[in-house]
């Protein structure tokens, strides 16, 4: 080829590629597909095994369904695979009536012959509950969500009544049971597929090549690079209009934003540079307040924090607004109480603790420390959504408490697991920590963080054990009348604000950015992202 011919050829390629993207064909494929730039690779394709948000995002709502689910708008419990359910009067037996039209995915590696029935539900729960189940030990045998929520103790047995009815027997009444069954990890797997894999002697594939009932089915996973989903053509609810759903795994924050700006992604997780996205005419930034809380907790067994007056005094001296702006860069709501405003138990009559140095000083004098004291403050050494920078937060608190002559020593040199072990042994005087809820039931905040039981075995790092409080949250669990529960939790919240075992600081928000061409509700305050019903035009 002569030189001039070559340059002609070259310019032909350049022109056709630069302007060739307006052909009708392109419209077909990219108009009907969504690329989601996610922040990391899933650890498994079975959310029973992992609780990390990244894995939940990639699996829970896309590939699977649960017996019951949460309404995306108000987080109330709505039917899913179970079309209805019944709780006996003593609260110890829960019966689910299953839909008959729920189909499993048909893929290149498995063709189901029957629709979902009670056997599948039994298999899914027994895999986690029953150590004798042949799948129990596959992929490690650890089911963190179920074990953390102590469901293995709570559920005595799961029985098949008939092909489309299952009954759970509980050891005690527990009104958060339904919320737990609707949680991200309580997905329904296919019993038929599990038998098929036993025949092939490839049992571990159940968590790598997933078969579920969700709106999308698994097509391809290129390790650490991308996941390809296709719509489930026999989905029991409205079928997705998309042709493909691709998760482009892009761990770098800047990389995700670049892809969004360059139009290579339609939706990105955890965007940075919010101003830039807001200014862009083709992009939208959205957020949802997550079910989490970042808090400043006191070791109530160590002086001077065994005195509620001291704790109350400190709560007056913390400038939450400044922390919100600096540490969370405005991407959070101030925590008035322990639970976020998106929870049904939120009580808007409870106001955030006012910021008043003079009140703090007088309370401190009343408690017998007019000249202040020296305390240590443990700041967690890792980043979490509920506290993106604990050390900076600790520095701000240090400056705040300086004003009421309390000197703060910051402890943050430990490695994360050592840090957790040491505070569980109570070595700290005060600590900056947080909590991300597993499911939207408010009990997940109260019992886990502040009950007497969890001060011994769980994650109550304040070691605060108040009989009145325990009484309140116990009675709230034993009733399923939502109004009386709400009243009980409201009392509990007020008790916390009086006794101040911990100071709730903020509920961080989860952000997401998308191109305007993507329509539909994507983010949920619990359970991450959901592409069901999302369209593109």
């Amino acid at each position: 080829m002569s030189y001039s011919k070559f340059s002609y050829f070259l310019s032909l390629i350049v022109f056709s590629t630069l302007f060739g993207c307006d052909t009708n064909e392109t419209l077909l494929l990219s108009e009907k597909s969504i690329i989601y730039c996610s922040e990391g690779a899933p650890e498994s394709f079975n959310p029973q095994l992992v609780t990390s948000g990244t894995t939940i995002d990639a699996t829970s709502n896309q590939l699977y369904n649960r017996l019951i689910e949460f309404d995306p708008n108000d987080n109330s419990i709505i039917p899913a695979i179970a079309k209805s359910w019944h709780v006996t009067r003593d609260g110890k037996m829960v019966t689910f009536y299953l839909r008959k039209d729920v189909n499993f995915h048909q893929t290149a590696y498995f063709i189901p012959t029957r629709a979902l029935n009670a056997d599948d539900v039994l298999f899914s729960f027994n895999r986690m509950l029953d150590p004798e189940n042949e799948y129990h030990e596959v992929s490690g045998g650890k089911y963190p969500f179920f074990q953390n929520a102590q469901l293995d103790d709570l559920i005595e047995s799961v029985e098949k009544i008939n092909d489309h009815t299952v009954r759970f027997k509980l050891s005690q009444p527990d009104s958060s049971f339904l919320a737990n069954i609707g949680g991200n990890s309580a997905v329904i797997l296919s019993k038929e597929y599990s038998e098929h894999l036993i025949e092939l002697n490839a049992m571990q594939e159940i968590d790598m090549f997933p078969i579920g009932t969700g709106p999308f089915k698994f097509k391809q996973y290129s390790s650490g690079a991308f996941i390809r989903f296709e719509p489930h053509s026999k989905y029991w609810q409205e079928q997705s209009q998309l042709k493909q759903l691709v998760y482009d795994i892009t761990p770098r924050d800047t990389g995700r934003l670049t892809k969004l700006l360059a139009g290579e992604c339609d939706v990105i997780a955890y965007p940075i540079a919010h101003e830039k996205i807001k200014q862009h005419p083709g992009l939208a930034l959205e957020s949802v307040t997550s079910f989490n809380v970042g808090y400043f907790g006191f070791n109530t067994t160590k002086p001077p924090f065994d005195n509620p007056l001291v704790r109350k005094a400190i709560s007056y001296a913390i400038n939450k607004q400044a922390i919100l702006e600096t540490v969370y860069t405005g991407q959070a709501d101030i925590a008035n109480g322990l639970i976020p405003s998106s929870s049904w138990a939120y009580d808007d009559t409870i106001e955030s603790q006012e910021y008043s140095i003079s009140k703090a000083q007088s309370l401190l004098a009343q408690a017998g420390y007019p000249d202040g004291f020296v305390m240590d403050l443990w700041a967690m050494p890792v980043q979490r959504a509920y506290n993106p920078d604990a050390v900076t937060m600790a520095k701000l608190i240090q400056a705040d408490l300086q004003k009421i002559s309390i000197k703060v020593d910051i402890v943050s040199d430990y490695e994360w697991s050592t840090f957790l072990r040491k505070i569980s042994e109570g070595e700290h005087q005060s600590v900056l920590l947080g909590w991300s809820a597993d499911h939207p039931d408010p009990d997940n905040f109260f019992s886990t963080l502040l009950s007497c039981v969890s001060s011994v075995t769980g994650s109550n790092r304040t070691f605060w054990c108040n009989q009145d409080f325990d009484q309140l949250i116990q009675s709230a669990l034993q009733t399923d009348n939502i109004n009386s529960r709400k009243a009980l939790y409201s009392k509990a919240l007020k008790l916390i604000n009086e006794e101040v075992p911990l100071i709730p600081i903020a509920h961080s928000k989860r952000y997401q950015a998308r191109a305007h061409s993507v329509n539909g509700k994507l983010l949920r305050s619990i359970g991450g992202i959901d592409f069901n019903g999302v369209t593109k035009n």
Binding site: R252, D253, T254, L257, I272, A273, E275, K276
Partner: protein, 297 residues
């Protein structure tokens, strides 16, 4: 007033003096040389002339743009980064890391390379041919890949990358020394001093080196621009200087996360690298030009 020449004898400037004479002819080379000297001064005086410490956080002045923009602040001339560190101070300190260290790295590999190269030039036969092939193989491995492999052995960190780059640069000096020395050894003046009874070492020291030094310096400028780029590239890839260090490549890597909110944290270190490499290349270019001119005369 010009000094009168009393003696009629002709002055023979040393090869280096001749080089300098030809070197300073094109103005662009003089500018480049000026920039090069400026960078050396910055590298030496960095801690004296910077307004702030490179790791000092100004928490009230996070992500300030450079002073000429509307939101800028004159006390932070080139703005600050996400931890409120003054960009100007970091860039000047970076001069002594990226640019200053590249000079040290090149000198070290020059010395080692010249020693090996001279020894190689004096050996003959199988050993020599083996060395030749060995050098060819090493030169065919991408320099960055080789540096990466060495860093993998030594572990990441600034000091280890310097060792890696020294090792990567040695072969080219061996190669050029060996060829230059061999070439000189065939010349008559070497034969003359050999007839005077000088041993090989003496010939190398007094006859050959003064005549090949300019070739080596010209190679050294090439090596230095490569060294700057390699130090920065390894820093950028997170294998060299750790992020808090004001090494230009590492600064750039840190800036990438801020690219959309503070683009100057990406532009400025990149410009600094570009500036120093161009200055180095201009000096090298002038050197090669001068050599060529001298050869032609």
């Amino acid at each position: 007033m010009a000094r009168d020449k009393i003696y009629q004898e002709e002055e023979f400037p040393t090869p280096l003096m001749q080089l300098w004479h030809n070197f300073k002819q094109p103005p662009v080379v003089v500018i480049g040389f000026g920039c090069f000297l400026f960078l050396i001064v910055l590298a030496i005086l960095s801690s004296l002339i910077t307004p702030y410490s490179p790791i000092e956080n100004h928490l009230n002045d996070l992500l300030l743009p450079p002073a000429w923009s509307n939101d800028g602040n004159v006390s932070f001339l080139l703005g600050t980064d996400n931890l409120g560190r003054d960009m100007l101070s970091r860039l000047i300190h970076g001069t002594s890391l990226t640019f200053g260290l590249s000079i040290i790295v090149v000198m070290a590999s020059l010395i080692i390379g010249v020693i090996i190269g001279s020894l190689a030039a004096l050996t003959k036969g199988v050993k020599s041919s083996f060395l030749n092939h060995f050098l060819d193989v090493i030169l065919s491995i991408p320099s960055l890949l080789l540096a990466i492999v060495i860093v993998a052995i030594l572990g990441p960190g600034l000091e280890n990358t310097l060792w890696a780059i020294i090792m990567v640069l040695i072969p080219q000096f061996v190669h050029i020394t060996r060829n230059a020395v061999k070439e000189e050894f065939t010349k008559d003046y070497v034969l003359a001093s050999r007839l005077d009874g000088a041993n090989s070492f003496r010939i190398l020291r007094y006859s050959v080196f003064p005549n090949i030094i300019e070739k080596l310096i010209s190679q050294a400028t090439l090596a230095q621009s490569a060294a700057i780029l390699d130090i920065a590239a390894l820093g950028f890839l997170g294998l060299g200087a750790p992020i808090p260090m004001p090494e230009w490549g590492a600064m750039l890597a840190n800036g990438i996360d801020l690219f959309y909110i503070a683009p100057w944290t990406v532009y400025l270190p990149g410009l600094a690298i570009l500036f120093s490499v161009i200055a180095t290349n201009l000096v090298g270019e002038g050197m090669r030009h001068a050599l060529k001119v001298r050869k032609e005369n």
